[in-house]
């Protein structure tokens, strides 16, 4: 579904990413970890078509990415909700901007799915951080994207909410698999969710290692089998930081 071929991106003198080769399958969940500043957000912006690569090619669904695509959705660290819109209107925003027609039924279903039924008319500031991020998740699902790009979506949340949301995301991905690129700083989160984990090394950002996670699903945080993968990843990240 996503194909990066010898992708590099520089910002002036800064080599943010270099020589990135990566294929992400149609139903594959790929997590990206790496230390701060190694180009993870840049990678997502490139796939999203918000930035052009300095060299190399990026394909989504077999087409070269030259601008944002409507079947690719983006989710950020902050909920990035529009404070003047109700929860429902926020979820409907992509459908409205993309001209997709009436998606209200689907929006209600999605809000139901993340446990926000009954909150449709509320304004974002009336919700907790976790609830806001759930709304943001619904918004990134409303356009039925084939590709979801998530930039540390749970890292601003407290540990409990974070666990809940990553388990919800796992459930959503099991029920309706998509191509997902999920940037995170949390090794445990990566191991819980990902089919493959890309470890980036910094300056310039390169793929240091790709780890396959073949454990059966659904997985649960704290499962002993996950710990083993986590430990080897910690080792890999140690190499990268050293």
């Amino acid at each position: 579904m996503i194909s990066l071929q010898r992708v590099a991106r520089t910002f002036g003198p800064v080599h943010a990413l270099a020589g990135i080769d990566l294929e992400v399958g149609e139903h594959e969940f790929v997590a990206v970890i790496g230390r701060s500043g190694c180009g993870k957000s840049t990678l997502l912006r490139l796939i999203a078509g918000l930035l052009a690569p300095t060299s190399g090619r990026i394909l989504v669904a077999g087409q070269e990415v030259t601008r944002p695509r409507r079947d690719v959705s983006l989710m950020f660290q902050r909920p990035a909700l529009l404070p003047w819109r109700s929860v429902l209107a926020n979820v409907l925003l992509p459908a409205e901007v993309l001209g997709l027609g009436d998606h209200r039924v689907r929006a209600h279903e999605l809000l139901d799915l993340v446990g926000l039924a009954g909150f449709e008319k509320r304004l974002p500031h009336e919700l907790s951080g976790g609830m806001q991020q759930r709304v943001s998740l619904c918004r990134s699902l409303i356009q039925s994207p084939r590709v979801m790009l998530m930039d540390e979506p749970f890292s601003a949340l407290d540990a409990i909410t974070r666990t809940e949301l990553s388990e919800e995301l796992q459930r959503i991905q099991l029920e309706h698999p998509r191509a997902v690129v999920f940037v995170t700083h949390s090794i445990d989160e990566a191991v819980l969710l990902a089919d493959r984990i890309v470890v980036l090394s910094p300056r310039p950002g390169r793929i240091h290692e790709i780890v396959d996670v073949t454990l059966p699903r659904p997985r649960a945080l704290g499962q002993v089998e996950l710990d083993e993968v986590s430990r080897s990843l910690r080792g890999l990240l140690g190499e990268v930081t050293a």
Binding site: P68, R69, A80, P83, W84, L93, V97
Partner: protein, 249 residues
């Protein structure tokens, strides 16, 4: 409490003022006591209310005109770098000119009637409105802009579904500043050349040393300003219930 405290503050100040006029035996033509001021309002209540309405109307119509011109102007400036480079310095220069200095010219051009006052109001009001709108339109958080870009939103969508909405609380800051300036602008116009309005009352009563009348007119001006300011604050609360964090002014 929200109403009681300001009222109490007013009463304290008026009380001290009264006390001072009695204790120091100040002549009424220098500083009239609150009772003198009320008395001189009661001598001519109809006349003074009529002048109040005239000044209010000048301020409100000039303010309305400023919003009608200023907001679209700011949108144009934000929308086009060329326009911004062309006109923004000019606007800053216009604002730097002391309005009191322009007032006589404005009166020469537009006469003693209402139009010269309205123009004065526009001249003082438009700058804060343009600046607050333009800076509000430019302060949209990066992730919201990226969200719209990632949806391949048109510029029109980005402007009217995102930037303008996001700018509204900041626009209101400019409006509240402008509305109090509007009253000042109207009075400047009336000072320089008019046959009516509270500014005219003040300048003529100064000439005849009727200080109490001047004070009564000034009190009415203060009441107009406060009413306009809080009217806007109220409108903002009703219209922008979501804009909590900006509401400290």
């Amino acid at each position: 409490m929200r109403i009681a405290l300001p009222v109490l503050g007013m009463l304290v100040i008026v009380g001290l003022w009264w006390l001072a006029t009695i204790v120091f035996g100040i002549e009424p033509f220098l500083v009239p006591s609150p009772a003198d001021v009320v008395a001189s309002f009661l001598e001519l209540p109809g006349y003074l209310l009529e002048q109040t309405l005239i000044t209010l109307w000048e301020a409100v119509s000039g303010f309305g005109l400023s919003v009608a011109i200023g907001v679209p102007l700011a949108l144009l400036i934000v929308g086009s770098q060329v326009l911004e480079r062309m006109f923004y310095p000019l606007l800053v220069a216009l604002n730097a000119v002391p309005k009191v200095a322009i007032a006589p010219i404005v009166v020469v051009w537009f006469g003693f009637g209402i139009s010269s006052k309205v123009l004065m109001v526009v001249l003082v009001c438009i700058f804060p409105i343009v600046v607050s709108t333009a800076s509000g339109m430019k302060s949209t958080p990066r992730d919201l802009v990226e969200l719209f870009r990632s949806l391949d939103a048109s510029r029109t969508h980005e402007f009217f579904k995102l930037r303008l909405w996001h700018a509204l609380p900041q626009i209101f800051v400019g409006l509240k500043l402008a509305v109090t300036l509007a009253v000042i602008g109207a009075v400047i116009g009336e000072f320089v050349g008019a046959r009516a309005g509270l500014g005219y009352v003040i300048s003529t009563s100064g000439a005849s040393a009727d200080t109490s009348l001047a004070f009564a007119a000034m009190a009415l001006l203060a009441i107009i300003s406060v009413a306009l300011f809080y009217g806007l604050t109220f409108a903002e609360r009703k219209l922008l219930p979501w804009a909590e964090e900006h509401r400290d002014f």
